[in-house]
């Protein structure tokens, strides 16, 4: 069983988001970068499935050299080897093209990634890769079990979930509670330093929808506090001032 897990290199969820260069670039000052939280779930489940099946697990990132510590962390958590496609991830289509190219001749049975990256929140790369490779794709997947070549999944839908059965090979965009996040141990961190990390150049520069400029939402006004003995006043404000009732 060969598993590919695709990870994003994104600002920590607590980051204050700011832009620079006349609002055309993300400002990384003071920002800590992490494996995307959804990708972290995918990685954790991928490690479990690799251990269960005795297969191999490759971690992939499309990013410039600065993302290597994030890939090394994936190796420390349990990936056997890593691939970095050496380019800024310009848009979802661009990233999907690179992933499909890496995957097409390497015979992966299962490709996992997060349901979406937490920077651009597109949630579309898994489906695009699926269509490019002619494989079924599912997202957001909250449970994934293997029974031979059958994959039993649960996919979250509005107000509930669907139980699914499909055959390998397939692609899944993952979310909690598919597995518990794994924290690398000392042995993992040491061995990650010497695990293979292959750097490939992008196959195409084609993009479809690149972000050209950024804006922050307007600053929120101060909260209007209502005394706890004046609950009727809150109802009046919601009705007459905010006009939301």
């Amino acid at each position: 069983m060969r598993i590919l897990v695709c990870i994003t290199h994104v600002p920590d969820t607590t980051s204050k988001i700011q832009f620079t260069a006349n609002n055309t670039k993300f400002d990384p000052t003071g920002v800590q970068f992490i494996i995307g939280p959804y990708d972290d779930y995918a990685l954790a489940r991928a490690v479990e499935l690799r251990d269960q099946t005795g297969g191999t697990l490759t971690a992939l990132n499309v990013g410039e050299a600065e993302t290597e510590p994030t890939l090394r962390k994936a190796l420390a958590i349990g990936a056997d080897d890593a691939i970095r496609v050496n380019s800024f991830p310009k848009d979802s289509f661009f990233v999907a093209r690179q992933i499909a190219e890496v995957a097409k001749d390497r015979g992966f049975d299962l490709i996992l990634m997060g349901r979406e990256s937490i920077d651009f929140n597109g949630g579309m790369v898994h489906g695009m890769v699926g269509e490019l490779l002619g494989m079924p794709s599912f997202s957001p997947v909250m449970k994934l079990e293997l029974e031979g070549t059958t994959v039993k999944m649960a996919r979250e839908i509005e107000g509930g979930k669907e139980q699914l059965e499909a055959k390998l090979p397939l692609i899944a965009g993952c979310q909690e509670p598919i597995a518990e996040w794994k924290i690398p141990n000392m042995r993992g961190i040491m061995s990650a330093r010497t695990k293979p990390l292959l750097v490939l150049e992008p196959v195409s520069q084609e993009t479809h929808a690149e972000a050209s400029s950024y804006q922050l939402p307007p600053a929120k006004g101060a909260v209007k506090l209502v005394d706890k003995d004046q609950v009727s006043e809150l109802v009046r404000l919601l009705k007459n001032e905010a006009k939301v009732l």
Binding site: G159, A209, A211
Partner: protein
């Protein structure tokens, strides 16, 4: 040129978020001079229900009635919508962002060689190209995105436009699709869905509870308030992690992102990950006994006090007022 809208159904009813997408397409057609707006609906749906899509702004509804499409079989839906897109000669596809919509749109982006932009929050700007504003960093920022392909797909975030309700009935046409058997190879074996309730991602009002509620046995008061308002109920991550509430109610960075008109947070401190799931709300009310709770900084209105006293009072006041 026609604008196609992929509308989703649940148990034969067209989803409200899909009707918003139809209204977005209608407004887009007005702006660009394109049209007509044509909807594609899949599976078993009554004629009358299909015609009512016109009220939201569609002049025609194509109906592929194959009952195998009642379920959200991702690949089959993508194939059917692609056929409709070619059949009406569209260059733009509009859909509502949703669990199924996102998955289908991604495959369509490749099938149709189209740019796909998701989380679209308003109509595009047409000066200097087709520029779409979308929400990014889980609502913490926006990006102007320039589409460079001839075909385009926009997945619309809730509340991007007001839903139109006064349009004439749409003309309904049967639409014959030929879907490869392979698209049905994966099987949906069961669906578990909350029934008779307002679904969280689609709700106009959301009432959420956090650890301040002290235990699942106290959710009755959240539900009473929600019922009074016709609202959906949500919760914070710790509450779903410890199993007080199901995961599909978890609002936040790694849960459901909501965009209601009114969000009421009860006994939730307001961790940044929770705020990421609610920051697209129009109006936020926070009830918390800790005056220092960070949620008050993100709120429009707040009451500092004990939820167990305030919430029943609020429910009673609302019942009297509404």
């Amino acid at each position: 040129m026609s604008i196609l809208v992929y509308v989703e159904q649940a148990a034969g009813k067209i989803k409200k978020t899909s009707l918003e997408a139809v209204s977005y397409a209608y407004a887009l057609a007005q702006k660009t001079g394109e049209g007509p707006v044509v909807a594609i609906a899949l599976g078993t749906i009554e004629l009358q229900e299909l015609a009512s899509v016109g009220e939201a702004g569609a002049s025609k509804v194509l109906h592929a009635s194959d009952a195998r499409l009642n379920a959200g079989v991702i690949q089959a839906h993508a194939s059917a919508v692609a056929q409709a897109f070619h059949s009406v000669g569209a260059s733009t596809l509009i859909l509502a962002k949703s669990s199924l919509g996102d998955a289908v749109a991604a495959r369509l982006a490749i099938k149709l060689d189209a740019a796909l932009v998701s989380n679209v929050v308003e109509l595009p700007r047409l000066e200097g190209g087709f520029v779409v504003k979308r929400s990014i960093y889980t609502g913490k920022a926006f990006a102007d995105t320039t589409i460079t392909t001839a075909n385009k797909i926009l997945a619309i975030k809730k509340n991007a436009v007001d839903q139109k309700t006064e349009g004439p009935k749409a003309q309904v046409e049967p639409f014959a699709v030929s879907i490869p058997e392979d698209d049905f190879a994966s099987k949906i074996t069961a669906t578990e869905q909350a029934t008779g309730e307002v679904l969280l991602p689609e709700a106009d009002i959301v009432v959420s509870g956090g650890r301040g509620m002290k235990g699942p046995e106290n959710w009755g008061m959240i539900e009473d308030l929600a019922k009074t308002l016709g609202a959906a109920t949500g919760c914070s991550k710790p509450v779903s992690d410890i199993g007080w509430r199901p995961h599909h109610e978890h609002v936040g960075q790694t849960g459901v992102k909501v965009a209601p008109t009114l969000y009421i947070a009860i006994g939730i401190s307001g961790a940044i990950q929770h705020l990421a799931g609610v920051n697209s709300s129009k109006c936020i009310v926070v009830i918390n006994k800790d005056a220092e709770a960070p949620f008050f900084k993100a709120a429009d209105y707040g009451i500092v006090g004990d939820a167990f006293e305030i919430v029943p009072q609020l429910t009673a006041e609302l019942r009297a007022a509404l």
